[in-house]
């Protein structure tokens, strides 16, 4: 579980995160949503330790990030898995070596054990055997995302961070990736944090949703709560498209009936 306590982050005098406090739960998909420039990425980067908050603290299972030195931060990061927007697979390694990389770096497993574990993770994300030896540039965007998920979970992390996991993917592949993230979160009981402004993802897998606006936490709830919210900013954001307006109207009618 991650506790975010009153964090503030400024860049050149501009306040990008303004006294944000929230809790991110284990076994749930915690989604950070908001418009471009609302502070989602800075909050995500603060959570993974790429930015240090100017004020406030982040507690990872009661361990204070502010109190950590460089070595502690590196040890904490070994408990994290991260799915980047562009997958961030290593160009010089093939698919299976990308997944083996964290094990080669940090585990004391034998060659056979690493190979078995890497194969298991790749199969778990539904990748066919024939892509295991291909280079990242030779596989599709959706497959790259799956390899990145396999690499992120290979050391059984406590925290999984996903930065816009559906960016650049078609709706069907997006759905597959969303379901995979949701399944893995429940299966491994990890604290998953997803940064997204994809409404399909939010309504599909958002167990705990944090809505940011202008660097402030505007709203927090689950995907059911979104239909009943009276928060205007959230309504403007979520129901910006006619399709979702109609979905809300239908949902309200159904609820009233």
């Amino acid at each position: 579980m991650i506790h975010v306590n009153d964090i503030v982050k400024q860049f050149d005098g501009n306040t990008v995160l303004d006294h944000i406090s929230t809790e991110l739960y284990d076994g749930k998909v915690n989604m950070i949503i908001g418009q471009s420039g609302s502070g989602k990425t800075v909050l995500m980067k603060s959570l993974i330790g790429l930015h240090r908050p100017d004020q406030g603290d982040i507690l990872y299972d009661q361990r204070s990030f502010i109190a950590m030195n460089e070595k502690d931060i590196r040890n904490l990061r070994r408990e994290m898995g991260m799915l980047f927007q562009g997958s961030a697979l290593f160009d010089s390694l093939n698919v299976i070596d990308n997944v083996r990389f964290p094990m080669e770096m940090f585990s004391h497993m034998t060659e056979d054990e690493m190979e078995t574990r890497a194969r298991y993770c790749l199969q778990r994300v539904n990748l066919p055997e024939h892509v295991f030896r291909l280079m990242p540039g030779e596989i599709s965007g959706g497959q790259q995302k799956r390899v990145a998920i396999a690499r992120a979970i290979v050391l059984e992390p406590k925290y999984l961070f996903c930065d816009e996991p559906n960016s650049g993917l078609d709706p069907r592949t997006s759905l597959v990736i969303d379901q995979l993230i949701h399944e893995l979160t429940q299966e491994l009981g990890i604290c998953t944090v997803v940064n997204s402004h994809d409404m399909n993802s939010i309504m599909e897998i958002g167990d705990n949703i944090i809505f940011l606006k202008n660097g402030k936490k505007e709203w927090q709830g689950n995907r059911e709560d979104i239909f009943h919210t009276s928060n205007e900013a959230l309504e403007d954001f979520v129901f910006a498209s006619n399709l979702y307006k109609k979905v809300k109207q239908a949902h309200t009618k159904h609820f009233q009936a």
Binding site: L50, R77, M80, M82, M105, F106
Partner: protein, 247 residues
């Protein structure tokens, strides 16, 4: 990329502080090191051989033209060719050439890893990305450079011999006497010491510019150009300083 020159110098030394640490996993370091030996060193061999061969031949012809004087001994041409190769060409000029090949390669490789978030991915895993990516490159090139210098000297001398053997510019006998006359072995060490320092400048500076690249392909291109230009200038400064200190 830090803005002012003072910030850049500070950022460079902070980066080197992260680079020169014990690797997280020795096995991974040696794997990267051997890979870089092949990539930065062995793959530079063809260009080193070709350039040295031609420059050795050209130096011999030019030396002969400029020493065509009955008062000068006939071995002067070989002597001049040898001294030029030993003292300047096979260390400084070769490193300026390799700054273009190796430096731009390193800056663009690390810069691309930066903008495609591969370096962030390493950091999130808890890997010291600077140490993992840069240390093998620096050590591999510093290791290979003395070898490249010796090969360059040898091939350059063969190039000069070729002029004697295949043209009537100079006789082989005169050339061979010249390249052996008043030989000072310290000049080889002088060339090697210079080359090791230049190899460090090329790899560390190119890694620095790549590591702090941001934005897109255009910025990676700029980082690559900056790496080559700044490395070349610094090599010339270092050459002046080392020559004053060592000769």
């Amino acid at each position: 990329m830090p803005h002012t020159i003072i910030e850049r110098i500070g950022a460079y030394f902070l980066l080197m502080g992260k680079v020169f640490r014990l690797p997280d996993r020795q096995r991974m370091f040696w794997r990267q090191y051997s890979f870089e030996l092949e990539k930065q060193g062995l793959q530079s061999l063809p260009i080193v051989v070709i350039i040295s061969l031609f420059i050795g031949a050209i130096l011999t012809i030019q030396a002969k033209i400029n020493t065509e004087n009955p008062l000068l001994p006939t071995y002067t041409t070989g002597l001049l060719t040898r001294e030029t190769l030993l003292l300047e060409f096979s260390s400084t000029i070769l490193c300026l050439i390799l700054a273009g090949k190796v430096g731009s390669n390193i800056a663009s490789e690390i810069g691309t890893m930066r903008i495609t978030e591969q370096i962030d991915a390493l950091e999130i895993m808890g890997v010291n990305s600077a140490n993992y990516l840069i240390l093998p490159k620096i050590l591999a090139f510093v290791t290979m450079m003395p070898l490249l210098v010796i090969i360059s000297i040898a091939v350059g001398l063969v190039g000069g011999w070729g002029v004697g053997a295949f043209t009537d510019v100079i006789t082989v006998a005169d050339y061979l006497v010249g390249i052996q006359y008043a030989f000072n072995p310290y000049f080889i060490w002088y060339g090697i010491i210079k080359a090791v320092v230049f190899a460090y400048i090329i790899t560390s500076l190119s890694s620095f510019y790549g590591y702090f690249a941001y934005g897109g392909a255009l910025e990676v291109g700029k980082a690559s150009t900056n790496a080559v230009v700044r490395s070349s200038i610094l090599i010339l400064f270092a050459d002046l300083l080392l020559t004053k200190l060592l000769l």
